[in-house]
């Protein structure tokens, strides 16, 4: 019986740790969903921009020894800037209803950003400094890492901040108006291109925070994770229902928890396969995702 209890504690601890990472996944998923919600388009560069932002933050730490908050700020700003640049190069001048051309352009940009990172770092993983002291909270038989708790808090705060901007400011109103009916929004005097650009920068800021937070919690930064992270972000956005922010949060937590459960039972090499299977299960039984609307899926 006590063996079973020990196993139970270990499994729940693993899944709990997964939920912490899940909040970061949720941020990545939100980034995809936000832009899909605004433009009905997929921005494939999102995860690459987030990682590139984290690299810029790392450079700030390495070369001028910037303190932790400044590193995160610089990462967020750099990623936001990349987001804006991606909007201009891959979305701004492509006809608004040509979704696939914009998608292809952003895939091109994904490889472009990735290659630049690979070349400036020689492709080898870099150590990202742990920004916080190592603290461990004890909660009965469970242990919670202090830095993960901080990451969780920052992720929650940035999500709330994003929801505030979207639902309580004029900018958010404009974004939602453009996402619902771009022509009508334009007729109401909303500058569609400006609003979309701001959405990209906003999503980029969010990605930069997620990227640098994760990097400091994991301790390494490697260009090898760009594509897997992109795929994971897409899966989360789809499972949550493309365009739905609450859906992306729920799906991020779900995938984070499931991933660690698969890790525990099946090992690291097979883990990601099961996450992909999860996506196919959703595609077969619930193609609109957890919170997606049935209309405008295309």
């Amino acid at each position: 019986m006590s063996d079973f209890l020990l196993e139970f504690v270990e499994v729940t601890q693993t899944i709990g740790d997964g939920l912490f990472f899940g909040t970061t996944y949720a941020l990545i998923g939100i980034g995809f969903s936000l832009i899909f919600g605004a433009m009905r388009k997929l921005n494939m560069t999102y995860a690459a921009a987030a990682l590139a932002g984290a690299y810029v933050g790392l450079a700030a730490f390495t070369f001028v020894n910037a303190p932790a908050p400044v590193v995160f700020l610089i990462s967020a700003l750099a990623s936001g800037l990349i987001g804006g640049a991606v909007y201009i190069t891959c979305f701004r001048f492509i006809p608004i209803h040509n979704h696939l051309a914009a998608l292809m352009a952003s895939i091109g940009a994904l490889f472009f950003i990735d290659e630049i990172v690979v070349h400036t770092t020689d492709g080898s993983p870099l150590t990202f400094p742990a920004m916080f002291e190592y603290v461990m909270f004890e909660l009965g038989p469970y242990g919670i890492r202090g830095d993960l708790l901080f990451v969780l808090a920052v992720n929650i705060v940035s999500t709330i901040g994003l929801l505030y901007v979207l639902y309580r400011t004029r900018l958010g109103l404009a974004t939602r108006a453009v996402s619902q009916q771009d022509v009508a929004a334009q007729l109401c005097g909303i500058d569609v291109h400006r609003t979309n650009a701001v959405t990209f920068v906003l999503a980029g800021l969010l990605g930069g925070i997620a990227g640098s937070m994760t990097a400091s919690a994991v301790g390494v930064l490697s260009p090898l994770i760009t594509v897997p992270l992109t795929v994971k972000g897409l899966i989360i956005a789809v499972i949550g229902g493309l365009g739905s922010i609450p859906g992306a949060i729920a799906a991020g937590l779900l995938v984070g928890g499931m991933e660690n459960a698969f890790l525990y039972f099946r090992g690291v090499n097979e883990r990601d396969m099961y996450v992909l299977l999860l996506l196919f299960i959703f595609l077969v039984f619930r193609p609109d995702g957890l919170f997606g609307s049935t209309v405008d899926r295309d």
Binding site: K41, L100, G108, E115, P228, F280, L283, P287
Partner: protein, 304 residues
């Protein structure tokens, strides 16, 4: 000389990869999972010639059928969604296949060594051509025989009723459905055909390269696969061939002096091409101008 023959083989194989995406794009579906079918073809053919010691031709056809079978199976759930969602689904499928081969270990003793796929170390012993003394010329002819067969088949199909149905689905699903065309059947057929063609390409790739591992079959390869028909346009199979020759022959080989930096150029090229010509480099208008320039004007299909 063997360098140019190697390049010719590569162009042939990439043409097959591009054509597998081309078939699906005729129906208006963009798949970023073609690298997955390519991988299934490559590993299946390798396993058949190495472990089961089959000759190349039955192994290649069996590999193509296996890849087509998986395309058929994946087609049903994946084609419930379309457009951008299909892109996500097919990326996920491609990654799933890659991870499957990343984990696959199937070693059998052969003499005093072990052969077969060895998970992360890749599949190293696909030496059918070397073992049977094929010259580079023979290998290149073999590869291009399949390329030409597939191109003729697709060109012929395009002129037939089947091609018209595929293009009709691509133009307007609702209208096509309302004249009694079964959309799912058409799309799954296109997916299966695409899987078959990618399977042939993969089988040829495995045997010309003699070595495959999971890192070959990434999203980058899938992006190459769709960028050929996108750049070459959908007006005919020759567009894809021209695009492959341009990207693999001119761009990748011509920019060899740039070293690793040429991958950056590929990314930039896609961005620029999509901004200038969102419907592909050889879209209806350019094709018309070109045809007029070479004296074929006025005769073309009314696909403008």
């Amino acid at each position: 000389m063997s360098y140019y023959l190697g390049l010719a083989q590569l162009i042939g194989i990439h043409t097959l990869l591009g054509l597998s995406a081309y078939v699906l794009m005729l129906t208006g579906q963009l798949s970023l999972g073609q690298a997955g079918f390519f991988a299934i073809g490559a590993y299946s053919a390798g396993i058949l010639t190495v472990i089961f010691e089959l000759p190349i031709l039955p192994a290649l056809l069996a590999a193509a059928v296996i890849a087509a079978f998986f395309a058929f199976i994946v087609g049903f759930p994946a084609l419930r969604v379309k457009g951008l969602m299909l892109v996500v689904a097919t990326i996920a499928f491609g990654e799933f296949v890659r991870l499957f081969f990343f984990n696959l270990s199937w070693r059998v003793p052969r003499g005093d060594i072990e052969v077969g796929p060895d998970s992360t170390n890749g599949f190293r012993e696909i030496r059918y051509f070397v073992a049977n003394g094929w010259s580079p010329w023979e290998i290149t002819t073999f590869v291009w025989t399949f390329v030409i067969l597939v191109m003729i088949a697709l060109w012929w199909m395009d002129r037939s009723r089947a091609g018209a149905v595929l293009r009709a689905v691509g133009e307007d699903e609702l209208a096509t459905q309302s004249v009694g065309v079964n959309l799912t059947a058409v799309k799954v057929t296109a997916m299966t055909a695409g899987g078959f063609i990618a399977g042939i390409g993969g089988a040829l790739y495995a045997h010309t390269a003699t070595y495959v591992d999971h890192l070959t079959f990434t999203v980058l390869l899938a992006t190459f696969a769709v960028s050929y028909p996108i750049l070459g346009g959908l007006s005919s199979v020759f567009g894809t061939l021209v695009a492959v020759i341009f990207i693999q022959g001119v761009l990748v080989e011509g920019l060899r002096f740039l070293g690793d930096w040429r991958n950056i150029v590929f990314g930039l090229l896609i961005i620029i091409a999509m901004n200038l010509k969102p419907d592909g480099l050889f879209d209806a208008r350019t094709t018309r101008i070109l045809r007029r320039a070479i004296g074929l004007g006025g005769r073309e299909k009314s696909d403008a």
